[in-house]
Structure formats: structure tokens, C-alpha cells
């Protein structure tokens, strides 16, 4: 097990965003964190990435409390374009190389070549799809034990989606766990091992994808509709 979340709660003022989350994440699997907008997916990921602080509860990554050490083993890709505007692709690659011990520069350059992103380009000149691919390339080039991808398919075309899925699958190993948050179920269903559905800050379903399909004789998108739309 790489991550253990116990009784996690998050409040923003009086608004309860996450309620009593309990979760165990195992290595060698790709998890889908599914739920509609505002369900708490991003908040949960940002807590595990140590970007925001939980109100109560306990989160451990590789038996370590969240902090400087866990940032070394958790790779998080936020949904926003978080790169400083002055940076070129090369600068960001060098930055990751300088800061993260687990960053594989050669692997990153290889991925960037595959998706046609040149090192000399200014990041702010990249299209939405290119930026997503670049963020994925940087994140997946870290040999991190826990990889968190927040809405990696937002606003991108079908070709870019296929490229991104390919990168995710190729870099998911027995030594790491990947969590992908999305409300675009069709896009990620084929690559998931486990699924976690979150509704209004509470986990409503957490199970193995194959097992769910066999037991319910439904696709994940239909199970999702059943959970969230009561269809």
C-alpha cells in the first residue's frame, strides 16, 4: 500500500468539502477518481499533494506524514496552467530535473519528441492540448511512487487524449500508483483498474473495475449514471 487516508475532512469556512474519507491506494494500479464538478476530487488530490491542508484526519504516503519528504515521492499534475509565463519548455524540464531526484530527463525528452513538443518553445505559446501533454510528460517522467493527475483530458481533442492515455499506461508500473480524476468517464474507463466515486465530498463507491462490470453487468459509465443520476 502506498497511501492511506483515514477520516479525512476538509472544510472551507462552513462548507464541508470532504467528509470522512477513508481510502487505501495500492501500488501497481491505476485509479479513477470520478465525480461531477464540485464533488471534492481536486480538493482531495491537492491535500495528498500537500498543496492544501486538511481540517481533520490523517493522510500518509509510504508511511510518511504529509510534508517535504512526501513531495519527493508524490507527483501531482494540477488542472491549471501553473507554469511561470517566462519559461520555455527547456526551462521547465531543467527545473524538474534540478528539484526532483526521481525525475528522468531522458525519459521526458523522449516523451516530448513523441508528442512533437520542441524544447525551445515558450510554454505560453503552447495550445491547450500541447500544454496538457507537456504537463503529463513532466509528471510521468518522475519515477514517483504516487502519481496524481487532475482532469488530464479537460478541453483537448481526441488525438491528444489518445496520446495522453498512451503516456499514462506506458508509465504506470508495479512500483507506482496512478490516480486520475475526471468527470469524463468514457475517456478513462479503458485504462482503469480501480474506481472511486465521490459525491458531495463522500466516497459512495470504491471497487475494482472488472469486478464491478461482472457483478453489475454494466459499463463504468452506466454505473456512474446510476450513482449520480439514479438512472
Amino acid at each position: 500500500m502506498i497511501t492511506k487516508i483515514e477520516n479525512l475532512n476538509k472544510k472551507f469556512y462552513n462548507k464541508q468539502v470532504l467528509s470522512n474519507i477513508n481510502l487505501e491506494i495500492e501500488k501497481g494500479k491505476i485509479y479513477g477518481l470520478l465525480g461531477p464538478n464540485g464533488s471534492g476530487k481536486t480538493t482531495m488530490m491537492r491535500i495528498v499533494a500537500n498543496l492544501i491542508k486538511n481540517t481533520t484526519g490523517n493522510v500518509e504516503v509510504n508511511e510518511l506524514k504529509l510534508g517535504k519528504q512526501t513531495k519527493n515521492i508524490v507527483a501531482f499534475m494540477p488542472t491549471s496552467n501553473f507554469f511561470p509565463k517566462w519559461m520555455k519548455v527547456k526551462n521547465a524540464v531543467d527545473y524538474y530535473n534540478d528539484f526532483y531526484d526521481d525525475f528522468d530527463r531522458e525519459k521526458c525528452i523522449e516523451i516530448l519528441e513523441k508528442v512533437d513538443i520542441e524544447m525551445g518553445l515558450k510554454i505560453k505559446s503552447l495550445s491547450t492540448g500541447m500544454t496538457e501533454k507537456f504537463k503529463i510528460a513532466l509528471t510521468m517522467s518522475r519515477n514517483a511512487q504516487l502519481i496524481l493527475l487532475d482532469e488530464p483530458f479537460n478541453g483537448i481533442d481526441i488525438i491528444a487524449k489518445e496520446d495522453i492515455k498512451k503516456i499514462i499506461v506506458e508509465n504506470a508500473t508495479e512500483e507506482n500508483a496512478t490516480i486520475i480524476s475526471s468527470h469524463l468517464i468514457d475517456d478513462i474507463e479503458p485504462i482503469l483498474d480501480e474506481v472511486i466515486m465521490i459525491k458531495k465530498g463522500e466516497i459512495v463507491l470504491n471497487d475494482n473495475v472488472e469486478k464491478l462490470r461482472e457483478e453489475k453487468e454494466m459499463s463504468i459509465i452506466d454505473i456512474y449514471k446510476e450513482v449520480f443520476l439514479n438512472v
Binding site: 472551507f12 469556512y13 491537492r46 499533494a49 498543496l51 492544501i52 491542508k53 510534508g67 517535504k68 519528504q69 513531495k71 519527493n72 501531482f76 494540477p78 491549471s80 496552467n81 501553473f82 507554469f83 511561470p84 509565463k85 517566462w86 519559461m87 526551462n91 527545473y95 534540478d98 528539484f99 526532483y100
Partner: protein, 242 residues
């Protein structure tokens, strides 16, 4: 920590170099204006003092803006995701700012000495002789001024950083962050003055420069600086959500 300073310099070296080139050209321009020797010296001294003042203000604005971006823009996540703690991130900003000031001082002192060389201004020797007459040790005076400049600027920046961090910690998702930071800054500054008044019963006067009173005052400033740095670093590490 030093990697943050390194990337800050990768970002701005071209602007720093451009600024230096412009300042050098302005200085060279004065030599070709056809001024009389006394007019030339006056123009060089006046203009470089003005340029130094403008550069200092620009640097100060950039230092505050950098912290503002770190805390209140999405770019901040790029830094907060790195395996650095709050103290290191704050330290990098502070050390980076002080290094900028050192570079600025070195740049203008070099220009000053080059100008004295070409103009036979003899101003340095005259100043040293004057200071000797007053009985003050020149090196001690220079060290005192430098320590006062750096500790004063550090104190100002830490107070501003703390104000921003407090706003970020206490008010999530509020729009008037800059105004609120300024209000908090006023309160923290008042508090600083109050604490300094309680700790320090003596004002820094010219005749006290270099003596024990000044050293004690500086120690008190450093203690206050460390106190606010500790609180700011703690909040950044434990309470601030990026």
C-alpha cells in the same frame, strides 16, 4: 533553496543586463555632452543617484510582486509542489532579494569608481579625510551602514511577506487580497514599532554609530527579524493552502 534563486536569475538576467547597458550608455552619453569638468561631475553624480534610486524602487516592487505571485497566483503551485518547506521558500525569496541589492550596490559602486577615475574627482579621498576628522573609523562606518541597510530591508520584506501570508492563511478565496495585505502590513508595522520601542530605549544617533548601543540595537532587530521569519515560515509550511 538555491535552485529557486537560480531560476529567478534565469528569468531576469536579461532584464538586469539590459538595465546595466542602459545605465552605462547614459553615463557615456554625459561624457560626450561637452559639459565643463564641474558640470560633468555634477551631472554624473546627480544622474547616478537618480538612477540608483529608481533601480532600488523597481527592485523593491519586483520583490513584493514575486511574493504576491507565489501566494496569490496559480504559478505559486509550481514552487509549492517542489520538495521545499515553507522556511526554505521564504528564505530563498529573502536571500534572493538581498543578493539583488548587493548586485545593485556593486554595479553602482563600480560605475562610481570608474567615473572618479576618469574625472579625477578625488571625492573618495576627501570623504575619507573628512570622516577621519570626525574621529569615526571609516570601515566601521561602512559596515554599520551596510548592516543597517540589509537588516532594515530584510525587516521590511519579512513584514510585507508576513502580511501577505497572514491574509492568505486567514482569508480563503477573498478578492481584495492586496488591499487587505496592506492593511495587515500597517498593523504588523505598528506592532514592530511597539516591540522595538519596548526592546530598545535608545535611538540610533550619529554619535552612537559603531558603539555598543548600535550593536545592541542591531541584535534586537535581528531577533525581531528571526521571530517574524519563524512565524511566516511556519504559516507557509503548516497553514497556507496554495
Amino acid at each position: 533553496m538555491f535552485n529557486l534563486i537560480k531560476y529567478d536569475w534565469i528569468r531576469k538576467w536579461i532584464y538586469a543586463l539590459s538595465g546595466l547597458v542602459v545605465i552605462i550608455f547614459i553615463n557615456i552619453g554625459i561624457y560626450f555632452k561637452g559639459y565643463s569638468p564641474s558640470e560633468q561631475i555634477g551631472s554624473l553624480v546627480g544622474l547616478n543617484m537618480l538612477l540608483f534610486f529608481i533601480s532600488s524602487v523597481v527592485l523593491f516592487v519586483l520583490h513584493v510582486r514575486k511574493m504576491n505571485k507565489l501566494l496569490f497566483s496559480e504559478e505559486g503551485q509550481f514552487t509549492f509542489l517542489t520538495p521545499l518547506n515553507g522556511y526554505e521558500i521564504l528564505g530563498a525569496n529573502l536571500i534572493g532579494a538581498l543578493l539583488d541589492i548587493i548586485m545593485l550596490l556593486v554595479m553602482f559602486l563600480t560605475i562610481f569608481f570608474v567615473n572618479t577615475f576618469f574625472n579625477d574627482m578625488n571625492i573618495v579621498n576627501e570623504a575619507v579625510s573628512y570622516i577621519h576628522v570626525t574621529g569615526v573609523d571609516v570601515y566601521e562606518l561602512i559596515m554599520t551602514i551596510l548592516v543597517m541597510v540589509f537588516s532594515g530591508y530584510s525587516m521590511l520584506l519579512v513584514t510585507i511577506f508576513l502580511s501577505m501570508i497572514l491574509v492568505k492563511t486567514l482569508f480563503y478565496n477573498i478578492k481584495a487580497k492586496k488591499i487587505l495585505s496592506f492593511v495587515v502590513f500597517i498593523f504588523v508595522s505598528k506592532f514592530n514599532s511597539m516591540i522595538a520601542g519596548m526592546l530598545n530605549n535608545t535611538n540610533i544617533r550619529p554619535e552612537s554609530i559603531g558603539n555598543e548601543v548600535l550593536i545592541m540595537s542591531m541584535i534586537k532587530v535581528f531577533m525581531l527579524l528571526l521571530f517574524w521569519y519563524g512565524i511566516s515560515g511556519y504559516l507557509l509550511e503548516k497553514k497556507v493552502s496554495a
